[in-house]
C-alpha cells in the first residue's frame, strides 16, 4: 500500500510538470517541447527559458503542432506537446489519430486545464471528454495524475517509454497526497486504503476527494477500499477484478463526463459485473463559476462519493 494523505500543502501540477521537464531536458538532449501559445499557462515556457533551442512555440495552431510533434518524433526526438485539454484533444483528434497514434510515434501530449475546475472560463474551456477521446485510440495510453509529486514521477517514465501518451491535469492547485516519490508504474492501480465494504476507484483530482470520502464513511462504520487509478489506459484489470470480488460494489470518480472515461474503463475490466455507480459530470456541459463551487454543484466531492457509497452498501444488505 502506498502512503497517501490529503495534506494542507497545495502544489500546482503544472509547476511539477515544468520542473520535471527541465530535469529531463538536462538528462536527455532529445527532449523537445512544443506549445501553442499557452506556454505561460501550461508552464512549458520555463523549459523554453532553460532550453531555448529545444522549445518551439507554434502559435495558435494546435493541429499543426501535433503534426510537427509527429515529424520531430520520426527523427528520434521525444516530444512533449502541451496546450489546454480542450484544444489538445478535441481540436486535434484527427491529427493525433492519423499522425501520432496510428504510426505509434513518440509524442507525449500533456494537457492542462482539464475538467470543470477550470472555473470561470466556462463550458467552452472545461474539457470533460478528453479521456474518452484518447482512450479509444489504439496505441494511446492515458494518465491522470493526482498530485504534483505524482506528476513529477510520471513525466520521466513516459519519456522513457516508446510511443504516445496522453496526460491530463487540471488548472487549480491540488493538495499534496503523496509526500514521497515513487517508482511510478504505468498500468498499475495504487491501493490507498484497504477496506472491503465497497471500493472507490478514483483518478486525477478525484483521488483526493476519495481519500476524504474514506474518512467520512469510516465515521459511519463503512470501510471503503480506495484505489487510485492514475493510468486509465491500460487499466489495471487485476486490481479492478480483485476489488469487485472482494468488496462486491464499485464507485468510480472522475472529473470527466461519465461516458467513456474511467467508469467505462473499469466496467470493461470487470469479468463479472458488480453493482456500480459512476461519479462524474452526467452528460452535460459545464458553466462559469468558482472551481470549488462547480465541483460541488456537479457532485464531484467527497460528500457525494460518501453518499453514493452508503447507498450502494445499503442496497446490498
Amino acid at each position: 500500500m502506498v502512503s497517501a494523505y490529503v495534506t494542507n500543502k497545495m502544489r500546482n501540477l503544472r509547476d511539477a510538470y515544468s520542473s520535471a521537464l527541465i530535469e529531463l531536458g538536462y538528462k536527455n538532449e532529445n527532449i523537445v517541447v512544443l506549445d501553442a501559445d499557452l506556454a505561460l499557462s501550461t508552464k512549458t515556457k520555463r523549459f523554453g527559458t532553460v532550453f531555448p533551442d529545444r522549445f518551439f512555440d507554434m502559435g495558435i495552431s494546435e493541429a499543426n503542432m501535433m503534426g510537427v510533434a509527429a515529424g520531430l518524433a520520426t527523427c528520434n526526438k521525444i516530444v512533449f506537446a502541451s496546450t489546454f485539454a480542450v484544444f489538445a484533444t478535441g481540436r486535434c483528434y484527427d491529427q493525433i489519430r492519423q499522425s501520432i497514434a496510428y504510426p505509434c510515434l513518440n509524442v507525449k501530449i500533456v494537457a492542462t486545464h482539464a475538467g470543470i475546475s477550470v472555473g470561470g472560463d466556462g463550458a467552452s474551456h472545461q474539457m470533460l471528454e478528453d479521456i474518452a477521446l484518447m482512450r479509444v485510440l489504439p496505441n494511446m495510453r492515458v494518465l491522470a495524475p493526482a498530485d504534483a509529486t505524482e506528476m513529477e514521477d510520471v513525466i520521466p517514465v513516459i519519456a522513457s517509454m516508446q510511443g504516445p501518451f496522453y496526460v491530463r491535469i487540471g488548472r487549480a492547485d491540488a493538495p499534496i497526497i503523496f509526500e514521497r516519490h515513487r517508482k511510478f508504474r504505468i498500468g498499475k492501480a495504487y491501493v490507498l486504503r484497504k477496506g472491503s465494504d465497497v471500493t472507490i476507484i478514483a483518478t486525477g483530482t478525484m483521488t483526493a476527494e476519495a481519500l476524504k470520502a474514506y474518512d467520512l464513511l469510516k465515521k459511519n462504520g463503512i470501510e471503503a477500499r480506495i484505489i487510485h487509478m492514475p493510468t486509465i489506459k491500460p487499466i489495471d484489470k487485476n486490481a479492478v477484478r480483485k476489488a469487485a470480488k472482494e468488496t462486491g460494489a464499485i464507485i468510480t470518480a472522475e472529473e470527466h463526463t461519465i461516458i467513456g472515461g474511467l467508469g467505462d474503463a473499469v466496467s470493461m475490466a470487470m469479468d463479472e459485473p458488480v453493482p456500480m455507480i459512476r461519479i462524474g459530470v452526467s452528460d452535460v456541459f459545464g458553466e462559469s463559476g468558482g472551481a470549488r463551487e462547480l465541483m460541488e454543484k456537479y457532485g464531484l466531492t467527497a460528500e457525494n462519493i460518501a453518499k453514493q457509497a452508503k447507498k450502494l452498501v445499503k442496497a446490498r444488505k
Binding site: 523537445v32 533551442d53 529545444r54 518551439f56 507554434m58 502559435g59 495552431s61 493541429a63 499543426n64 503542432m65 501535433m66 503534426g67 510537427v68 510533434a69 509527429a70 515529424g71 520531430l72 518524433a73 520520426t74 527523427c75 528520434n76 526526438k77 516530444v79 484527427d94 491529427q95 489519430r97 492519423q98 499522425s99 496510428y102 504510426p103
Partner: protein
C-alpha cells in the same frame, strides 16, 4: 542540361512506376490511379536521382525524407520504393490485401515510408517537424513533402506553411501536384485557389513553377533551389492520369480501379511507350 542517358533512365523508371500503378490498383480492385500517375515523373526524379537515401538502410538518419501528404497516391510511392529496392517488387501485387504491408494509404509499417498519411492536410506539418529536427541535430538532410492541389484547401496546410516560413526552414521543399482536379470536380470550381503562387509567396515561401512531366525541368528545379534561404514550393503542373490516354484529365479515375479491358488498354499503351523509348 542533364545528360541524355540519365533522362532516358528516369523516363524508364517513371514508365515502370506508371505500369505498376495500373497493375497494382487493377489487382487491388480499388485505389487512386489518377493522382498516382500525375506524380510518377516527380517520384522517379526524387528516388532515382535527387534524394539521398539508402534502400538497404531505410531508417538511415541522414537520409532525405519524403512525406506523401496526398496519401491516396500511395500506389506510385510503393512502386518507386519497390523499384528502388526497399522491398521485393512482387509485393506490389499485394496492394490493399489483408495481411500484407502495402496499405491503401501509406503506413510506416512499409519499409521506406517516412510517414503514415491518408487524412489530407497533415503532411506539411510533419515535414516542418522533420526539418526542425534536422536543424536541431545539425544534419543536412532535406525534407520533401508532396501535396495535392485539392489538399491545400485544408486549413492545417496554411498553419504549417506559416510555421515553415517563420522558422525559415530552407531544408523543406514542398511539391504541389497541380493537376487541377479533385474528387468532386475541377479544383478552381470546387474552391477557388488562385492566385496559388501568390498565396504561398505571401506566406514567405520561395515559389517556382515547372512542368511536372518534363524530367529535365524537374531535375533543374532541384538544382536551382539548392541555395534558397526559405522553404520552397514547387508548383508542378501535371495532368491527372498522365500516361494513359483515357485517364488523362478525367475525373472518374481519381479513385477507381480500371476494369479488365481498361487495364489491358492502359498496359498496352504504357508498353508501347516503353518500346518507343527503348527504340
Amino acid at each position: 542540361m542533364h545528360d541524355a542517358t540519365l533522362i532516358k533512365e528516369l523516363k524508364r523508371k517513371a514508365l515502370e512506376i506508371r505500369k505498376w500503378v495500373i497493375e497494382s490498383v487493377y489487382r487491388a480492385g480499388s485505389g487512386h490511379p489518377g493522382g498516382s500517375l500525375s506524380i510518377a515523373d516527380i517520384l522517379a526524379c526524387l528516388y532515382f536521382h535527387e534524394m539521398r537515401h539508402n534502400p538497404k538502410n531505410p531508417k538511415w538518419e541522414d537520409r532525405d525524407r519524403l512525406v506523401l501528404s496526398k496519401g491516396h497516391a500511395a500506389p506510385a510511392l510503393y512502386a518507386a520504393l519497390a523499384l528502388a529496392g526497399y522491398f521485393p517488387v512482387k509485393e506490389l501485387y499485394n496492394l490493399r490485401k489483408i495481411g500484407h504491408f502495402l496499405q491503401g494509404h501509406p503506413s510506416m509499417i512499409t519499409p521506406g515510408v517516412d510517414m503514415s498519411t491518408g487524412s489530407l492536410g497533415q503532411g506539411l506539418s510533419v515535414g516542418v517537424g522533420m526539418a526542425l529536427a534536422a536543424r536541431l541535430d545539425n544534419r543536412d538532410y532535406r525534407v520533401f513533402v508532396i501535396l495535392g492541389d485539392g489538399e491545400v484547401q485544408e486549413g492545417q496546410i496554411w498553419e504549417a506553411a506559416n510555421a515553415a516560413s517563420h522558422f525559415r526552414l530552407n531544408n523543406l521543399i514542398a511539391i504541389l501536384d497541380r493537376n487541377r482536379l479533385q474528387i468532386d470536380g475541377p479544383t478552381e470550381e470546387i474552391m477557388h485557389d488562385e492566385p496559388l503562387a501568390l498565396r504561398w509567396k505571401a506566406f514567405g515561401w520561395e515559389v517556382v513553377e515547372i512542368d511536372g512531366h518534363d524530367l529535365e525541368e524537374i531535375l533543374n528545379v532541384f538544382h536551382e533551389i539548392k541555395h534558397n534561404e526559405r522553404p520552397t514550393l514547387i508548383i508542378a503542373h501535371t495532368i491527372k492520369g498522365k500516361g494513359v490516354s483515357f485517364m488523362e484529365g478525367t475525373l472518374s479515375f481519381h479513385g477507381k480501379a480500371p476494369t479488365h479491358e481498361q487495364y489491358i488498354r492502359a498496359m498496352s499503351e504504357l508498353e508501347q511507350e516503353e518500346r518507343e523509348l527503348n527504340g
